[in-house]
């Protein structure tokens, strides 16, 4: 065992020295390699962080949201509907929710108006509102300012900004306007008893599906939306987007593999002579392959680390300037948010298969070709 380790150490030592002798050439390969790792790792880190974020946001949303459909379109919950549900075993709480969209011609953007659930931390007094950070930024509002909205009926409503929602919640609250129930009903001219939808909280996750089935049977015009289903859809969408980007980048991976093949097979005369001399002084073909293997492993490791660290900085320090438009989606009131840095072993393994694997495949045959060179054939040239 010890001699084996010593031998590998000597090989690595030799390989490093040999790599250092051809700095420019190897640096070129290293840079291209690192760039490929960087591109792929950026996509992966970014989508993974977004997925994580979506999961955290949804973790506190109600288990079931019940909407009413009229002619296949989402409609208001009429008075008495909530009572019709009655008691379903397993449902801890059921509550009508009030929210809606408002188009602001000034910003050319949609706001979400919402009434906080009773008992929430922040319930604005009548005539006052709490607004999201992106909205406050775009309209230049600070607490104490007043703002007017022209409602859909043409009337002008003026509210005082009581507070701006904390920046940490911006991912979900960028375009949010929180207001009291009376204000909401007056603004949208919503008669008492009507709600936008119903939120149900269920304690036991295994009961959620049964309760949804019961709801659908009891209220045929309703559409229960489960939290786990929303989560599942997000997961699929993010994975799919990530997959598509990777497939688009596969051209780059292929180009890189060809580049690596070229690099590995186009041995310079000097390198050939080196191998010839090594074999003349007693190295076997297997040893040369081992040396080349270490060369590949060292280059891969360096490129992988370099590319991965650069991608990490790109995503979590510079909020992924390059991929934002593709992966994040777009909106006028786009939230500014910082992603939580997270490195996932599974992603590293996938990334490894996407980068080191093509490199290894591309270099196997050239390495072997180099290793079988006859000493006399090269030294005679």
């Amino acid at each position: 065992m010890n001699t084996w380790i010593e031998k590998q150490k000597a090989l690595i030592d030799f390989t490093l020295a040999s790599l250092a002798r051809r700095k420019i050439r190897n640096l070129g390969l290293l840079l291209v390699y690192a760039l490929i790792v960087f591109l792929l790792a950026s996509v992966m880190l970014f989508t993974h962080a977004l997925r994580k974020e979506a999961g955290q946001v949804l973790a506190n949303s109600p288990e079931i949201i019940l909407q009413r459909l009229v002619a296949g379109r989402h409609d208001l919950i009429p008075p008495g509907y909530l009572e019709k549900i009655g008691r379903i075993r397993g449902v801890q709480k059921k509550q009508g929710r009030l929210w809606g969209y408002y188009y602001d011609a000034v910003l050319k953007a949609n706001y979400t108006f919402m009434v906080p659930q009773p008992g929430a931390l922040l319930v604005p007094d009548p005539g006052k509102i709490a607004i999201g950070a992106a909205l406050a930024r775009m309209r230049g509002l600070v607490p104490g300012n007043t703002i007017s909205f022209r409602s859909y009926s043409g009337k002008l409503f003026t509210f005082e900004v009581a507070s701006v929602l904390p920046h940490q919640s911006e991912l979900v609250s960028a375009d949010l306007v929180l207001l009291g129930e009376e204000d909401f009903r007056a603004f949208f001219e919503l008669p008492p008893g009507h709600y936008t939808d119903i939120a149900l909280s269920v304690a036991n996750p295994q009961e959620v599906r049964n309760i949804a089935t019961k709801l659908a049977a009891q209220l045929p015009d309703s559409r229960p939306i489960l939290r786990e289903e929303v989560l599942r859809t997000y997961e699929s969408i993010f994975n799919w987007r990530e997959g598509i980007v990777l497939v688009l980048l596969s051209g780059a991976i292929l180009a890189f593999a060809i580049f690596a093949w070229e690099k590995a097979s186009g041995l310079s005369a000097e390198e050939k002579r080196e191998i010839g001399i090594l074999k003349a002084i007693g190295w076997e073909t297997g040893d040369v392959i081992k040396m080349k293997f270490w060369e590949g492993a060292l280059v891969s490791l360096a490129a992988f680390l370099l590319g991965y660290i650069a991608a990490y900085l790109h995503v979590f320090r510079f909020s992924s300037l390059l991929f934002e438009p593709v992966l994040k989606g777009w909106a006028v009131l786009y939230p500014r948010f910082e992603l939580t840095p997270e490195v996932d072993g599974f992603q590293v393994a996938t990334l490894f298969l996407f980068t080191v694997f093509p490199y290894a495949v591309a270099t196997v045959v050239p390495i072997w070709r180099a290793a079988i060179t006859d000493p006399d054939a090269v030294m005679r040239v």
Binding site: Q67, L226, E229, R232, E235, I289, F352, L353, V361, I367
Partner: protein, 333 residues
């Protein structure tokens, strides 16, 4: 569901492995037909050089299988969110009938590649490379397994459909499907324990016995295979329960997760290594009478047998330690 990064990576890895072996097979045929160590012809020289390429390629395929085996399991675990009722990897693998066969095929290919590499290593140490023909016949014999594994994987991923919301009907979409079991079928714990420790003890005994007396090499391989299966059955039916401290959670994959402190690696790494070594002992036995291998085979198989005995023992210790440390009381004593 092909557009998932890990799925693309897995399919890429196995497709490339298959392609490499396929591309190599005409040369393998040539080696089988024309190999003649005594000849000094140019063809023989070329063939000799080519053998280096094949052992490198196969080593590469082996490493790839190892990585993709891990990735396959992780991927199954990650995808569980996307299927109704799937809680972890078991659920995802059960989504369609190809999941578990694909996993098993991958494990089989892994062990076959390991056995081939043992034969290759043995052959390389002899002066006259007596097993070259045999090696390449075996290489060709492995090709169908690799192809099968790739086909199963492809089938599995092609038939995966995530249960996503459609705008028309919310949850109704995924209704009416029976939910997938999160726990796998398992033996009753008492029987499994007897089998588990029995099979492991026999395997350790056989391997150690072979290492000392140099007899019963084939038995080592047979008992290793049995111990591997018994060990997996044991993990399913009682070890995992103790680790999760939950009498109904049988998943053999969740123990690899950070929530359980990656404890699974302490069991699976020795188990797989020991099984590969044990099978390797069997793989070299047929060549014990080859003149130039008379010294090499016993030595190789003695070392492998020690490795197998050590690995199985380590596995049993790790599993027992996890059971001992657990707060779950499964059997009243």
């Amino acid at each position: 569901m092909l557009f998932q990064p890990a799925v693309i990576a897995l399919l890429l890895a196995s497709a490339v492995s298959v392609a490499m072996l396929l591309a190599a097979s005409p040369f393998a045929l040539e080696v089988i037909r024309h190999w003649d160590i005594k000849s000094g012809s140019e063809r023989q020289l070329t063939l000799e050089r080519r053998t280096y390429l094949f052992s490198t390629l196969l080593g590469f395929v082996f490493a790839t299988q190892l990585v993709s085996l891990l990735l396959f399991v992780f991927n199954a675990d990650k995808m569980a969110v996307m299927f109704v009722g799937a809680m972890c990897a078991v659920g995802t693998l059960n989504v369609n009938p190809f999941g578990f066969p694909a996993l098993i095929a991958q494990i089989v290919v892994f062990f076959l590649a390991a056995a081939w590499l043992v034969v290759n290593q043995t052959d390389n140490r002899a002066e006259d490379y007596p097993l070259v023909r045999m090696k390449y016949v075996l290489l060709l014999a492995m090709l169908p397994f690799l192809l099968g594994s790739f086909a199963l994987q492809l089938e599995y991923f092609l038939h995966l459909k995530a249960n996503v919301i459609t705008s028309c009907c919310g949850s109704l979409f995924s209704e009416g499907k029976q939910s997938l079991a999160g726990d796998a079928a398992a033996l009753p714990p008492k029987l499994a324990m007897v089998l588990f420790y029995g099979a492991l003890a026999v395997a350790v005994g056989a391997a150690a016995g072979h290492a000392l007396t140099r007899r019963g090499g084939y038995w080592v391989a047979a008992f290793s295979a049995i111990a591997f299966i018994a060990a997996l059955a044991g993990i399913l039916s009682f070890v995992s329960l103790y680790i999760y401290e939950h009498p109904h959670h049988h998943c053999p994959f969740c123990i690899l997760k950070p929530e359980y402190g990656y404890q699974g690696y302490w069991m699976y790494i020795p188990l797989f290594a020991a099984t590969a070594a044990g099978l390797g002992v069997g793989a070299v036995q047929p060549f014990a009478r080859v003149p130039s291998l008379e010294k090499i085979v016993p030595e190789t198989s003695r070392r492998l047998a020690w490795a197998a005995a050590g690995g199985f023992a380590l596995f049993a210790l790790a599993a027992s330690f996890m059971v001992w440390r657990s707060n779950l009381i499964l059997l009243e004593v």
